[in-house]
């Protein structure tokens, strides 16, 4: 049930809901979202001006279109919905996310995909610092974070699982990612970089792409094209695969 005082911001037409967020505090916006989903499977939120935590903890299958700029922690702890951002996103997209999708038609800030355990996050352009930090996987849960542009320092830090792909579409001809310390402390998962890294953390190694890597990267590129419609040729052979040197980077650090 949408609380009565918030009814004015919502218009429901069949299975779709339209929310005008221009005067909504994030708490109220999320309250509305939590009360939708049945039967409103498609939700359009207009005039989003930095409201935080949109989609937090939602666990139903639904499609949320955000028009404007969502605030920090978009889709935190989320487990199910697909969120399409028609604009840029801020920090913490997909923080500790368990499942679902976030597709950002623009760029995003720092710590995108922090501790993400499942689902997919696609960012069309660049991202900030520490993206993909401590992503992990468990059984059938294997998160995918795809960045169309490039990233800042500490990309994939402490990464423990999942797939992180950076397509370098905003880079120059040299295709060198300027981020420093990529994969510092990484002990699981895979990073695919189109082009080359300028600086790797000491716990990662660049290894040759195998057949299944080419397939995986191709399918990521295909999804990216589907979401954002990019024309450019992206041969999978232009990718570098980064994996942890060891599953136990700190194995010899301690004595009993």
């Amino acid at each position: 049930m949408i609380p009565a005082h918030l009814m004015g911001a919502v218009e429901i037409r069949g299975n779709a809901a339209y929310i005008d967020a221009s005067n909504l505090y994030y708490k109220d916006l999320n309250k509305i979202l939590r009360s939708l989903g049945n039967p409103e499977k498609t939700i359009h939120i207009r005039n989003v001006y930095g409201q935080r935590y949109i989609g937090t903890d939602l666990d139903q299958e639904m499609e949320i279109h955000i028009h404007g700029t969502p605030g920090n922690d978009l889709a935190a702890f989320m487990d199910g919905p697909a969120i399409y951002v028609h604009g840029n996103a801020q920090d913490g997209v997909g923080n500790t996310m368990n499942g679902g999708k976030v597709i950002v038609h623009g760029r995003a800030g720092d710590i995108v995909g922090h501790s993400m355990r499942g689902g997919e996050v696609y960012i069309r352009d660049d991202v900030g610092y520490r993206c993909g930090i401590h992503m992990k996987e468990y059984k059938e849960k294997r998160p995918t974070l795809v960045v169309g542009g490039t990233a800042q320092d500490y990309l994939g830090e402490y990464m423990a699982g999942g797939v992180l792909a950076v397509l370098g579409l905003t880079l120059g001809e040299d295709l060198v990612h300027k981020a420093r310390f990529i994969g510092t402390g990484m002990h699981g998962g895979i990073v695919y970089l189109r082009g080359k890294a300028r600086s790797l953390g000491k716990e990662v190694d660049a290894v040759p792409m195998k057949e299944d890597d080419h397939e995986r990267v191709q399918s990521i590129i295909d999804s990216y094209r589907k979401h954002f419609g990019v024309e450019k040729e992206l041969p999978t052979s232009s990718f570098t695969k980064l994996v942890p040197v060891s599953k136990r980077p700190y194995g010899r650090l301690y004595v009993h």
């Binding site: 937090t56 903890d57 935190a76 702890f77 487990d79 401590h134 402490y158 136990r248 009993h256």
Partner: protein, 503 residues
């Protein structure tokens, strides 16, 4: 490399008493005892002994005595045996020395320099055996003022109250992660908390789904590794705690080695079997008070504002200023963990040298929050070194709303504070994930022992309160006038906010 380390303990076996039953051989998980068939004798490898007393307690004829190795290095106040031992260990490994439990160095335990008042002649004492004595404690943000309306003689509360935890005694079980301790111990803590009406804290290793049914008495923790953190887990608990720091290892992260990540541990932590579970030192979405606020409210959003959010920090030099920020960031409960707070594994150098005593941190935090007029916005929970009901009473009089106990609860289950938690071989079946050793803790008996501990301490708290002429714990909270210090300097008394005995 030949080791230059000598055995720390010597196992003495009275051969007249030994009946060759081999209980010691089977009980010792460090393989200290062995049976020599040819000579029909039970013998010991002293160098393996950690002085856990498992064999001593289980030997049916009391044949075993463990002694500190009487062979000492030449007496030297500066170069203690421990300093030499630790240094040699490092020379042989080139690694960080890891240990378990809390700081064992003789920094002043202020609890033991504080005495409690009692009523004599005036303001008569109360006998808790015959008169009601209220120790129920509510944890969570309290409003600045209450608005009420009278309706046909009834008082109707108009102010919307923040969510609260209701403790039947001001004692909770501190964060002990599944992985650091066994499933049976996690179960016993959850059951005892439920039976007595208090709370256990999951620690950062998640919560097995079998224990969700005790969720009304469980605080679920969210730490930097975010292990096992998902919507169902957050919903399962009665409160959520953000772990920033731990008294045993302020400022550093945690590290559950891959060997301990068994199938069951893997399921609750939600990481593959055998991989290291690394908790980074900071929470990487928290670099400021504003960021802390962001995570607090993310968790409040995720739990629809129905549960209090606690933030736990290690007691450090500027705890009071940080605590002020934490309250302003929206924390409903502040947990402070002092330098003597224990751990399942921490670098010894950190455990023994970083942090400050809980008594001083608690007193300064409580004062700061009162001075700023925001003390009611959050409850304060003191942890790290509470070892008796007297410590609980002193903590509450210094300003705590409740305390967390960890080591004390484990001692109730058999722990002898041998400091070997990090080995994963705990012969008492407590600090281990080995399914065979874990069976040594029977959850029914363990629950009973924990409930007995809570009952015993609660009765003692009521006795002490009665002696002071106080019949509700609310009247003891922050009542520093009922405490006196002995053998403390003026500065210590000033920070503790108490007077010298006799004054």
């Amino acid at each position: 490399m030949k080791t230059y380390l000598e055995p720390e303990f010597i196992v003495e076996r009275n051969d007249d008493r030994c009946i060759r039953c081999k209980v010691c051989v089977n009980q010792c998980t460090y393989e200290t005892h062995y049976y020599d068939e040819e000579d029909d004798q039970v013998l010991s490898r002293d160098e393996n002994c950690v002085n856990c007393h498992r064999c001593v307690v289980f030997c049916p004829t009391h044949a075993i005595t463990i002694k500190p190795n009487p062979t000492r290095y030449t007496e030297n106040w500066n170069w203690s045996d421990e300093a030499i031992f630790t240094l040699k260990k490092q020379a042989e490994s080139g690694a960080i020395v890891i240990t378990g439990m809390g700081c064992d160095k003789p920094y002043l335990t202020y609890w033991d320099r504080i005495l409690i008042d009692a009523s004599q002649v005036t303001n008569p004492s109360i006998d808790p055996l015959r008169e009601p004595m209220e120790i129920q404690t509510f944890l969570g943000a309290k409003p600045d003022r209450l608005e009420m309306e009278y309706n046909n003689g009834d008082i109707v509360l108009q102010t919307e109250l923040a969510p609260q935890l209701t403790c039947e005694t001001p004692i909770m079980f501190t964060a002990l992660s599944y992985g650091a301790i066994s499933f049976n111990v996690h179960t016993a803590l959850a059951r005892a908390a439920t039976e007595f009406g208090t709370y256990m804290n999951t620690g950062e290793g998640g919560l097995d789904e079998q224990l969700y049914k005790y969720g009304d008495h469980i605080i679920v923790q969210v730490a930097s590794g975010r292990f096992g953190v998902h919507a169902k887990y957050l919903d399962a608990g009665a409160a959520v705690e953000i772990k920033i720091g731990q008294g045993a290892k302020p400022g550093i992260g945690g590290h559950l080695p891959g060997e301990k990540v068994t199938e069951d541990i893997s399921r609750t932590r939600m990481i593959p079997v055998g991989t290291d579970a690394l908790s980074p030192a900071p929470q990487h979405d928290i670099y400021s008070i504003e960021d802390l606020r962001q995570l607090i409210y993310a968790l409040k959003e995720a739990t629809d504002y129905t549960k209090p959010v606690s933030v736990k920090i290690a007691a450090v030099h500027n705890s009071a200023a940080i605590a002020s920020g934490m309250v302003r960031a929206g924390a409903d409960i502040i947990a402070l963990d002092g330098v003597r707070g224990a751990t399942g594994a921490a670098p010894k150098v950190i455990r023994d040298n970083v942090g400050i005593p809980i008594e001083l941190a608690l007193a300064s935090v409580d004062k700061r929050l009162r001075d700023e007029g925001i003390r009611n916005h959050a409850s304060v929970v003191a942890a790290g070194g509470i070892k008796s009901s007297a410590d609980v009473v002193k903590a509450i009089a210094l300003g705590a709303d409740a305390v967390y106990i960890g080591t004390a609860a484990l001692v109730a289950l058999g722990c002898t504070v041998c400091q070997g938690c990090h080995t994963g071989k705990c012969p008492w079946g407590i600090a281990t994930t080995d399914p065979w050793i874990s069976r040594r803790v029977n959850p029914d008996i363990a629950t009973q022992r924990l409930v007995n501990l809570l009952r015993g301490w609660s009765l003692e708290i009521k006795e002490m309160m009665g002696g002071m002429g106080i019949n509700a714990i609310e009247s003891l909270r922050g009542n520093r006038d009922r405490l006196r210090g002995v053998g403390l300097t003026d500065t210590e008394l000033r920070i503790l906010g108490i007077k010298m005995a006799g004054d």
